[in-house]
């Protein structure tokens, strides 16, 4: 009888712990906390983007400066693009979204979008003039030119992704997640099939 009561208590304790864990995960918008392997991959990614950012800051090309002359802004942006391309001529898809990072991002995004905020995130994506997946190229111009809108990225999704240094952002096209250099408007790297 006492054995049965102890067993019941242990069961209740386990259920309570599971509920507490689930509540914590739900509050953060994902179904499960990242595994140690994913945590390491995401930390590696953060380190790499910081290195990219430092490299960009040290380029012999100025950031865009406030002016009334739009042609001058275009010229400065073009100079910045060329300097970035020259600084990383061999850059290719997967340099930052390495296989481990890619797997961690896909899991994170999948869990976030199947979590308690999934419906809101999907509604926000649908609301943001989604564009069909467009061909991306590392060091290529992000395809929001010629009047195509730049799709907004849902706030809850951003809350669950690693924070980026100033000047870099995540962008979505189709199911692809791109890492974009905002000033130069070029693709730093991209992750196909990122969104479930």
């Amino acid at each position: 009888m006492a054995e049965s009561r102890t067993s019941n208590r242990i069961s209740m304790l386990c259920i309570g712990m599971c509920l507490a864990l689930a509540a914590h995960s739900a509050a953060n918008g994902y179904a499960q906390p990242p595994s140690p392997q994913d945590k390491k991959a995401l930390a590696d990614f953060s380190r790499e983007v910081k290195q990219y950012s430092s490299m960009e800051h040290n380029l012999p090309a100025d950031k865009l400066k406030t002016t009334t002359d739009v042609a001058e802004l275009e010229r400065e942006r073009q100079v910045l693009r060329q300097a970035i391309a020259q600084a990383r001529p061999d850059a290719k898809q997967g340099d930052l979204f390495t296989p481990d990072v890619a797997a961690a991002f896909r899991r994170l995004l999948g869990q976030t979008m199947s979590g308690p905020d999934g419906a809101k995130i999907r509604a926000s994506l649908a609301h943001a003039e989604p564009n069909p997946g467009q061909g991306l190229a590392v060091n290529g111009i992000f395809p929001n030119t010629g009047g195509r809108p730049l799709q907004s990225v849902p706030a809850t999704l951003l809350k669950n992704l690693p924070v980026l240094p100033k000047g870099l952002d995540y962008r979505i096209t189709g199911r692809t997640l791109a890492l974009r250099d905002a000033d130069a408007n070029i693709v730093v790297d991209y992750l196909p099939d990122a969104l479930p």
Partner: protein, 303 residues
């Protein structure tokens, strides 16, 4: 007989001539009728105009700009806030000229400042650094006019650093009025996009906690004055160039006034605890006007 007729007719002819001259003299000296203003101009008020989704460079944008110019003559509003989609399509020099500098030339020449936020059709890096948009090289920023502080957000990319910045700026503001504006609406009865409920989840707690009084957005190409939400006044001006005819769901339980058959802009004036507003269509028709009182902390205003 002929002489008698001439004697009788002469004073009549003179009278007619004098009357005509008088009419002409009166019409030459009378000022052209000014635009109808439905609120009194108050000394020391902060007065501005609101436009959104305007940057087409096409005739309707010019018509709205022309109405704004008429109203500037009557009100001398100090500045213009822009709810995003400031430049549609291409973003070359010529686009900024045709879609912004030419339509608002008269206002720019008078020194009226424009404060832009970014829409999804804007080119962030170019527009943040385009001096006449007064963004200071930032995608989100704040500025203050008298007792009114404006929080200009980038709703295309509401990342944690922007949310932290917003909380910090709201917390430290001692302005009597706090006004936020950004492109994507948190509430709307328009059918094309609908509200951004994910963004709403992030922003409403901050707006409520730190006493934001009024919010403007665009994106939907209509005009809306919405029922207060959590005690906050909401407006949508997304039809100062673009227009999506008959796009408002009717009936709906959100709008106090909705208008989706012409382009509009708004005039707003804040003095003390009063906010006066007036929405004007490209045709000159006044489609909405009224006065709102500044909310007291914890008070939910009547619709």
């Amino acid at each position: 007989m002929a002489r008698i007729t001439r004697i009788l007719l002469l004073p009549i002819l003179i009278g007619v001539c004098l009357a005509q001259h008088g009419d002409r003299a009166q019409s030459l000296s009378a000022p052209a009728p000014g635009p109808e203003l439905r609120f009194p101009l108050k000394n020391g008020a902060v007065r501005w105009a609101v436009i959104g989704d305007n940057g087409t460079g096409e005739q309707p944008e010019l018509q709205v700009a022309s109405q704004m110019q008429r109203y500037w003559g009557a009100t001398h509003f100090d500045f213009v806030t822009m709810d995003g989609d400031n430049i549609y399509g291409g973003h070359k020099s010529v686009d900024f000229q045709n879609k912004f500098e030419a339509p608002y030339k008269a206002l720019l020449d008078e020194g009226v400042k424009f404060y832009a936020c970014l829409g999804n059709h804007d080119d962030p890096a170019l527009e943040e650094n385009y001096k006449p948009f007064n963004m200071g090289g930032n995608r989100y920023y704040t500025f203050r006019k008298g007792d009114v502080q404006f929080f200009v957000l980038d709703s295309n990319y509401m990342d944690p650093p922007q949310l932290a910045w917003l909380e910090d700026k709201l917390k430290s503001s001692d302005a009597a009025w706090k006004i936020a504006y950004f492109h994507h609406p948190l509430f709307t009865a328009a059918a094309f996009h609908g509200p951004d409920v994910d963004l709403r989840k992030q922003l409403m707690p901050l707006f409520a906690q730190y006493g934001v009084n009024a919010v403007w957005s665009g994106h939907e190409h209509v005009y809306e004055r919405l029922k207060p939400q959590n005690g906050i006044y909401f407006f949508l001006v997304g039809n100062s160039g673009e227009l999506r005819y008959h796009n408002l769901r009717k009936p709906n339980d959100l709008d106090l006034v909705g208008f989706d058959t012409d382009r509009t802009f708004m005039l707003v004036q804040i003095a003390g605890n009063e906010l006066d507003y007036q929405a004007v269509a490209a045709s000159g028709q006044i489609i909405d006007s009224g006065q709102l009182m500044r909310q007291k902390p914890g008070q939910t205003p009547a619709p």
